[in-house]
Symmetry: C2
């Protein structure tokens, strides 16, 4: 593929930034990729493994002359980073981010965007439970969605170019309104994560009762929750604090339904349970048909070595 | 390996029975495996794919002369099946089951067990979201636990033999008290399944609001819930109805913790969230170290074809 941006700057060098750099490099989408992370440790690691073409010692230096700047830090850190780099942005460049919440990022970053810079918030719906500069991989975005959430005046050619970059990295691209984005993600990601964290926390409390049996016999169901609940605490704290309303709304509905099912168990209403469990099967089918998951049993999960 | 039982009868021919037959056959653990399922369709399929050595047209015929009989039907069907086969059991044989709940199975099946038959309830902690006669595979139990829950008088040599069979199929074997089993499984399996079913149900309700976006953009977290919530409705209805107390107890604790976290989100208590999310990471680490899951990102999940 051909170069889409001559120079791309990534602020934050974790899972998402690392995967972007590796994907852009593999597909030849950027002339040069610069990067910056706040800690010396992360910068050293990034240098050692050659994660980007050039690791800089300040955010200002990294964004100098960049045609595209992508903020790849936790949502709660976006505002400070935006303030820091704003004076150094090249006129006519595009500023984007990869935060998991969009309304809060727009409110935090928007006011810092200089005139003549196109601000196009984005969210790749791809990730793993791992984080840090060594967790990225070039295929992370392949066959996944990336949602672009442009607000206000954005030049169409800037939007087309960012779209081309994400498509170049293997993603499907859609645009969406920020509030709608935050609601959809509250359902598909934020509420499920909080629920998984909660269930794993309950199991942890019970460890005294069950010794280490909860871990030892974790095969069914719970194991999958622990993977989700192993995700980065900072990232998720910020997600919940910045997508408060939609998350609480979905959790409210969740609790209502859970109470109805608990009641069905208590009074022995097997038909209610059976019907509910039959309905939820159809959703899985839809996801597999939409190409967003595998039908292989247990995800075709790799068996751990004995 | 050498033959452990000359003749094994499997009642019910779904995921677990099928996997047992294929595993016993691959390892040469049984002289002959007979099988029976209530529907003609399942029996025909089992015959067509050669799932067991001999598919019988009645449960009585299948258990005739068997040294080991394993009930592989939903928990709520165990009592009727036990009543049907009891008069036909060979004196001195072992009767077992694979039900996901143990106290209820003991109460339902126990009274039907003839004198001279060793009744050893069991539960292999292995499964997938698929079911039916074509879903089994020989490696399902490898490196997984199988819990034996003997109650009352069981001859030690009968217990040793059943243990040898499960070990022969690749499982690790432990014994456990039935009530304790039901509590541990409520934490690791039953409550997580109900929670996953609930969250997927909520998403289904919201489909009108979000069009089909919940399915389309299901990448993170939710996808894993839908896999769990695609499990067999009959099996799970029976599990909840027959492990009522422990499941409701764990769900009660879950709701309490969830409320505390919701409150932290509402009042913006980031420290509470951060600490909670940090604690749950350790559990994942424990499970990976115990060899019960892979550390590969996203389970090393197979990517669906485009
Ligand atoms: N992980 C996912 O599944 C996923 C998916 C889609 C979108 N996202 C979003 O992508 C963004 C990055 O996530 P990630 O998974 O790549 O995270 P990560 O691997 O934990 O990396 C985060 C990076 O941000 C830096 N950082 C953390 N706190 C900071 C602060 N207060 N100020 C400045 N820099 C800070 C870190 O620097 P140090 O290393 O120096 O500490 C690190 O380089 C987040 O907004 C997240 O919501 C994540
Ligand atoms: N799936 C798991 O993850 C898992 C894991 C561990 C233990 N278990 C336990 O293993 C047992 C079997 O589960 P499975 O996953 O193998 O189920 P499955 O694939 O759905 O197969 C169930 C079998 O039971 C028969 N059956 C269903 N209802 C019956 C009834 N009322 N009377 C007589 N037979 C009936 C079915 O016959 P037809 O085909 O003719 O309808 C089928 O052959 C259950 O007790 C379950 O709790 C399951």
């Amino acid at each position: 593929m051909s170069v889409i941006y001559d120079r791309v700057a990534l602020i934050g060098l974790g899972l998402i930034a690392g995967s972007m750099s590796l994907a852009m490099r593999r597909r030849g989408l950027a002339g040069e990729v610069t990067g910056y992370a706040r800690s010396q440790t992360t910068r050293d690691t990034a240098r050692r493994i050659g994660l980007v073409d050039r690791v800089c010692d300040s955010a200002a230096e990294a964004v100098e002359g960049a045609d595209l700047v992508v903020l790849c830090v936790p949502v709660g850190a976006m505002e400070a980073v935006a303030g820091e780099i704003a004076p150094h942005l090249k006129p006519g460049c595009t500023l984007s981010d990869v935060g998991s919440v969009k309304r809060a990022v727009i409110d935090a970053v928007g006011p810092h965007v200089p005139a003549g810079v196109d601000f196009i918030p984005a969210h790749p719906l791809a990730g793993t439970e791992h984080s840090g500069p060594e967790s990225g991989f070039a295929t992370l975005f392949e066959n996944r969605w990336c949602l672009l959430v442009p607000e206000g005046d954005v030049r169409p050619e800037a939007l087309d170019r960012l779209r081309a970059l994400w498509e170049g990295m293997g993603a499907h691209v859609d645009t969406m309104e920020p509030d709608h984005h935050d609601l959809v993600l509250a359902v598909t990601s934020h509420a499920p994560h909080l629920i998984a964290y909660t269930m794993v926390g309950v199991a942890d409390d019970l460890r005294r009762v069950t010794d280490s049996e909860v871990i030892k016999y974790s095969a069914a169901g719970f194991r999958d929750f622990t993977r989700i609940a192993a995700s980065d605490p900072t990232m998720w704290r910020d997600v919940f604090l910045s997508n408060k309303d939609a998350t609480l709304e979905i959790l409210g509905r969740f609790t209502e339904e859970l109470f109805a099912l608990q009641r069905a168990i208590r009074i022995g209403d097997g038909d209610h349970l059976f019907d509910y469990f039959t309905r939820t099967r159809a959703i899985r089918r839809g996801i597999i048909e939409a190409g967003q998951d595998t039908d292989a049993p247990d995800f075709g999960r790799v068996k751990p070595a004995e």
